[in-house]
């Protein structure tokens, strides 16, 4: 609607310009006639009088241009004609254009791809709201100085009960399931999780609901949440799926929810390991064994609590547990900011890559700028001619800026396409980095600005 309005407005302005131009022309001609009348009266022949009147006015076209500058539609009008002129110039000089566009496209494309990866891996690694307060909690073995161990479920329960620093805690492990029914049974990757998962991540299912606390207990555990992909593929995107049963293994499970297409848990998992279903805790027969460290634990800090504070509290809690449970002796605990954890191994490499590729962009911009300068020098004659024909200084500068911007846009668009291809290549090489095509515009804009 808005677009239509602005279009109509600008068309009206263009139309108005034509009308104003015609009327202004009449008025200026009338002015010249009147002036010539006066000059003729002072003794000049008519032709000479008219010529002199024209000179004194300073040219009909020039005056019209100055009047036109006040019109609202003028900006659009002159930009459109500048673009047309710029394109003709590019066509006249294909080698210059090709070199400039190619240089820009390669630099922007490389930047786009690298920045997209950096953005996905380092800047926005967790696709959940307010993810800055999410932490991972690992068991550690101080004797071997190893950390990154998973945790047994009973230990998780003790942590959860005894701490005061977390708003919520949840735990999960992977679980291979097979789904029957329909034409063919299928083996799928599922994740068993405690009921707090979605609440903790602040994510809602697209359809249905998340797990309830009682579904952590055996006997209430025959429920399943489907991924969008599975729902689409196997259940034909049936919106009435909620409440229907699906055979998981030998048992009928009730579908209670379907997640949105962009939901990923655990995050940072390679696409080839796509999780298709989330199942409740009660399913895992080994969940009450204090010795089986199978669970991956994460939590959300209460507002204002730092990772260090949480670590101190968890150390104390853990101390108490070690006294009560012999199995826990010799185990420590480690709280890590989740965002820092994701991609921490690749961070230095990625930053270095980003730095290098930014330099490439700078060099490319400098190259294109010097190309433009050289061309500007070669076009001095043209500039002088245009000036003589009535183009103002500001107008000429705008013309050249428009050409540069045009070049930058063409380069940017080709860069986007190239960047997209390069990104596809990255993803094929390392399927973990699969995210966000959004930052490209930033790249394009920044490089255009640099030009």
């Amino acid at each position: 609607m808005k677009l239509l309005d602005s279009l109509r407005f600008n068309v009206a302005a263009l139309f108005q310009r034509a009308q104003v131009n015609a009327e202004m022309e009449d008025e200026l001609r009338s002015h010249i006639q009147h002036r010539a009348d006066d000059l003729e009266r002072s003794g000049l022949p008519r032709a000479e009088a008219e010529r002199r009147a024209r000179v004194e006015l300073g040219g009909i076209e020039q005056v019209k241009e100055r009047v036109g500058e006040q019109l609202i539609g003028n900006w659009l009008h002159s930009t459109v004609s500048d673009c047309g002129y710029g394109l003709r110039q590019f066509r006249k000089n294909p080698s210059f254009t090709a070199v400039a566009v190619l240089t820009l496209a390669m630099a922007i494309g490389a930047n786009t791809a690298v920045f997209s990866v950096v953005n996905a891996v380092l800047l926005r690694p967790l696709p959940y709201p307010d993810s800055g307060r999410l932490v991972q909690i690992w068991s550690t073995n101080p004797n071997t100085n190893r950390w990154g161990m998973w945790t047994a479920y009973p230990r998780f329960e003790d942590w959860r009960r005894e701490n005061t620093v977390f708003e919520g805690m949840a735990t999960a492990r992977t679980w291979v399931i097979s789904i029957k029914g329909g034409d063919h049974p299928e083996s799928l990757l599922g994740v068993i999780t405690s009921s707090q998962l979605l609440q903790l991540l602040r994510v809602h299912p697209m359809l249905g609901r998340g797990f309830l606390p009682e579904e952590d207990q055996p006997g209430h555990d025959q429920v399943v949440i489907l991924s969008y992909g599975l729902w689409q593929r196997r259940f034909g995107s049936d919106r009435n799926i909620i409440g229907r049963t699906v055979d998981v293994g030998e048992q009928p499970y009730t579908v209670i929810g379907v997640m949105a297409p962009d939901f990923r848990f655990p995050p940072g998992l390679a696409i080839s390991y796509r999780v298709d279903a989330w199942l409740p805790l009660g399913l895992d027969p080994s969940r009450n064994e204090r010795g089986s460290n199978n669970y991956y634990t994460f939590a959300r800090l209460k507002p204002g609590v730092t990772v260090a504070q949480a670590q101190a509290e968890m150390d104390a809690v853990n101390q108490g547990l070690a006294e009560k449970h012999p199995e826990d002796r010799g185990l420590g605990v480690k709280v890590v900011g989740w965002q820092q954890q994701v991609g921490s191994e690749v961070r230095p490499v990625l930053l270095m890559l980003l730095g290098a590729i930014s330099l490439v962009l700078l060099i490319a911009c400098a190259n294109v700028a010097s190309l433009l300068l050289a061309r500007g020098a070669a076009r001095q004659r043209e500039t002088a001619l245009r000036q003589a024909l009535g183009a103002g200084r500001a107008r000429l500068i705008r013309q050249f800026l428009t050409e540069s911007a045009l070049l930058a846009i063409i380069g940017g668009v080709s860069g986007l396409l190239l960047g997209y291809e390069v990104l596809e290549l990255f993803i094929r090489l390392a399927p973990t980095f699969r995210d966000s095509t959004r930052p490209r515009l930033i790249c394009t804009c920044s490089s255009s600005a640099l030009c």
Binding site: D26, S30, D37, R66
Partner: protein, 114 residues
């Protein structure tokens, strides 16, 4: 430029046009002549600058224009003041006088005597 002609200060062209038109219906060339006449030919007005100025004033609703026939029996566009134009002329004249008085007294100031 004749030696006794002064260059216009920026922004004063509008005021002069309003003043010239306030003295009677005029076409563009007539306005030029009238400004020359009332200023004793002391002000230099670039002819090409007049029309963008007129266009601007019409846009602002201070002047209105219509086509007519001139004394030379030629078609011409005539301008006259609107009510808003008269009001603006009054305000601008006061402004100008205040400014001119201030500048004149500033320039006439003598060094303080001990």
């Amino acid at each position: 430029m004749a030696p006794d002609q002064a260059q216009l200060l920026p922004g004063t062209l509008d005021l002069l046009i309003l003043r010239a038109v306030s003295l009677g219906l005029l076409h563009g060339y007539g306005i030029l002549l009238r400004i020359g006449q009332i200023s004793g030919n002391a002000l230099l007005i670039e002819q090409g600058a007049l029309y963008p100025g007129l266009f601007r004033l019409v846009r602002q609703g201070l002047l209105k224009a219509r086509w007519g026939t001139s004394d030379n029996n030629r078609r011409a566009k005539f301008y006259e003041l609107t009510a808003a134009g008269r009001k603006r002329l009054r305000e601008e004249t006061e402004n100008w006088n205040r400014l001119a008085t201030a500048i004149r007294s500033a320039l006439a100031a003598q060094p303080e005597q001990e």
